[in-house]
């Protein structure tokens, strides 16, 4: 085992895969010599050179479009978008092209594409740099979506993403980049569609995404002191979604809380809640509770931002809200 930050874990995962497969290409703004605006691709340019680690002009649509072309040509390609908010510039390649080409060409194409992008919520970057847009992507058949919450998961999931012959959006949590965790020295990969029970508990099931996972664990500790035993589940990938693990937990606890930093309305929380309701209606003591960002644009002012984003206290409150 060795300790890495979440950002370093992604870096190490990419590096190891690039060593295993010299066809892999990394593209994006500032991903080369500079090593990525948040340092995630640091050192890759020096090790693999400018042909495989490519600094691109500032044009997200073409970056992802080119990446799809490379992927179609048998080169697994990792495209970085510097903030998830900028997926808005690449929605055609991400949603109309990558996940559909194989289908409408009757299986002739394979698209080993990874779009890496960080969710910056909570760091004061303001309205256009704080959005968590995974719900948009979960609505698109043909896309896989990973949202790691620990260094261990980040490395294991990025490896699976890169080995995937299908388009993957890898949504990183910027607020976790500097968090540290133990990572095995030997090669490992975490299969998609396998949720991880981060904490076992009997009273309430909390399904948390990305940045909310550590907050949920913190809330669980506080609640334990209050005699409420919380089970914290991290789906790790929302497409595919390991609904079985979530439903099994809810059948045990009878209570479901879903926590994400994305806005509440239209968020992934509604989808997870409804899937659980469809499968475990009779086991539920009450309605699933969503802990999410308020439905207002992300404000820059720090106390406004703090107030609009979900936090530990909101999860604690939600877990106490059941009759």
């Amino acid at each position: 085992m060795h300790e890495l930050t979440y950002a370093q874990a992604i870096n190490e995962g990419i590096r190891e895969e690039m060593r295993r497969n010299d066809k892999i290409v990394v593209m994006g703004e500032d991903v080369g010599k500079y090593g990525g605006v948040f340092g995630v691709t640091r050192g890759l340019f020096d090790e693999f050179g400018g042909a495989r680690v490519r600094d691109c002009p500032l044009n997200e649509a073409a970056i992802v479009g080119f990446a799809i072309g490379l992927a179609l040509s048998g080169r697994p390609t990792i495209a970085e978008l510097e903030f998830m908010d900028f997926t808005t510039f690449a929605m055609d390649p991400i949603t109309n092209q990558a996940p559909k080409l194989r289908y409408f060409w009757g299986g002739q194409a394979t698209v080993p594409l990874v779009v890496r992008t960080p969710i910056a919520a909570g760091l004061g970057f303001g309205t256009q740099h704080s959005q968590s847009l995974e719900a948009w992507l979960m609505h698109v058949p043909g896309l896989k979506i990973a949202m790691p919450s620990t260094a261990y998961d980040a490395k294991g999931l990025i490896k699976t993403a890169i080995r995937e012959p299908n388009p993957v959006v890898f949504a990183e949590s910027m607020g976790l980049y500097s968090t540290r965790g133990e990572v095995p020295d030997e090669d490992y990969a975490i299969p998609f569609g396998q949720a991880d029970v981060k904490r076992k508990g009997a009273d309430v099931t909390v399904v948390a995404l990305g940045l909310m996972v550590p907050k949920a664990l913190k809330a669980a500790e506080e609640l334990a002191a209050l005699g409420i035993d919380v089970e914290v589940i991290d789906p790790r990938t929302i497409a595919p979604l390991d609904i079985d693990t979530i439903v099994a937990s809810v059948k045990k606890t009878g209570r479901l809380v879903i926590a994400h930093v994305a806005h509440k309305t239209g968020g992934v929380g509604a989808e997870i809640a409804q899937q659980v309701v469809e499968r475990a209606f009779d086991s539920l003591d009450g309605p699933p509770v969503r802990v999410a960002a308020q439905d207002v644009p992300m404000a820059a002012s720090q106390f406004l931002e703090k107030a609009l984003l979900p936090d530990v206290a909101d999860i604690v409150k939600a877990c106490q809200s059941f009759r």
Binding site: P57, G65, F66, I68, L72, S73, Y103, W105, G106, G107
Partner: protein, 318 residues
């Protein structure tokens, strides 16, 4: 690089295949044999044929929903195309793609795309892969005057020029984007002029002249194979037909007359005869054979089964 007799004859044969394929596709649509729409390449045939005559099977071609011509020019199977048109299981894409989404990768037709300009950066990426692989293959993207207004076209010109990619951007200026004339959508008289702002060659050619298109494409292809980078080719052409089976728009009237004068088919035939490559009689045979091939394709398509419903769930993930 010059064209062999066989290549020229084959081009004439495929020109008829395209023309007759499109006429059949329109007829079959009229008969209600498929839904959606179809976008005829009629009158533009010489462009796809002239460009593809300069390519090898390992070179890649991407096109738009108006891509039946490019597909046939690159050697796609017309039976499977017509079956795809009708959404049949025997189609190029098992019927899932339909008229706007055809592809046949084994002949280097990387397919057509229904999102105007969506395939242009993808073509750039394929050209980048060719460069990284050290192959001398090239990539061609066909698209229209309207597509040339979309941001990704410029973004792709910039990246391809910056990286000297083996990419040939062929803008088929048929003067209309549905109903919108180029004079209302493009701020310069010639789309080739755009290249001036990006540092790649921008060449204008008569898109209805097979030989002129071939020569222009051959030069761009040679340049790309040499590693000297991309070229923008503006093929001036006309759209004689409606925009699609669904939308009229543009063309018609005076345009139609202008088209008749510049119909690439009699034009190529005359040249072939003048060059002593075929006789009038052979020309007639070629046309008749093409007609037979398309009639057979239509029959094949009509007689083919629709895909089974389980096909809904295949080809999503590899």
């Amino acid at each position: 690089m010059t064209l062999s007799k066989e290549q020229q004859i084959e081009a004439y044969r495929r020109m008829w295949l395209i023309r007759l394929y499109e006429e059949a596709a329109i007829r079959l649509y009229g008969e209600g044999r498929y839904r959606g729409s179809t976008h005829p390449y009629i009158a533009q045939e010489a462009t796809a044929l002239g460009v593809c005559a300069a390519l090898n099977v390992t070179d890649q071609v991407l096109a738009t929903y108006r891509g039946h011509g490019a597909a046939i020019a690159k050697g796609a199977n017309v039976n499977a195309m017509m079956a795809e048109q009708l959404g049949k299981a025997t189609g190029l894409c098992k019927g899932k793609g339909g008229s706007m989404h055809m592809s046949q990768h084994d002949v280097g037709f990387m397919g057509s795309n229904a999102i105007v300009s969506g395939h242009i950066p993808i073509a750039g990426g394929i050209a980048l892969a060719q460069q990284l692989d050290g192959s001398d293959a090239v990539t061609v993207a066909f698209f229209g005057d309207g597509a040339s207004c979309e941001g990704v076209f410029y973004e792709t010109m910039n990246m391809a020029t910056l990286w000297k990619l083996p990419l040939i951007l062929v803008v088929e200026n048929n003067e209309y984007a549905i109903s919108t004339h180029v004079s209302e959508s493009i701020s310069v008289p010639d789309i080739a002029t755009r290249a001036l702002g990006f540092g790649l060659p921008g060449v204008i050619v008569d898109g209805r002249d097979f030989y002129a298109v071939y020569d222009t494409a051959a030069e761009a292809v040679a340049r790309a194979r040499r590693g000297d980078g991309p070229t923008l080719i503006e093929a001036k052409t006309v759209r004689w037909s409606r925009h699609s089976a669904v939308a009229a728009g543009g063309a018609g009237g005076e345009k139609a007359d202008r088209w008749k004068l510049t119909d690439p088919l009699p034009r190529l035939k005359q040249e072939l005869i003048q060059r002593g490559i075929i006789t009038e009689a052979q020309a007639t045979e070629i046309q008749a054979a093409a007609q037979q091939e398309i009639d057979d394709a239509a029959t094949f398509a009509i007689d083919s089964p629709y895909p089974e419903l389980k096909e809904l769930h295949t080809d999503i993930f590899a």
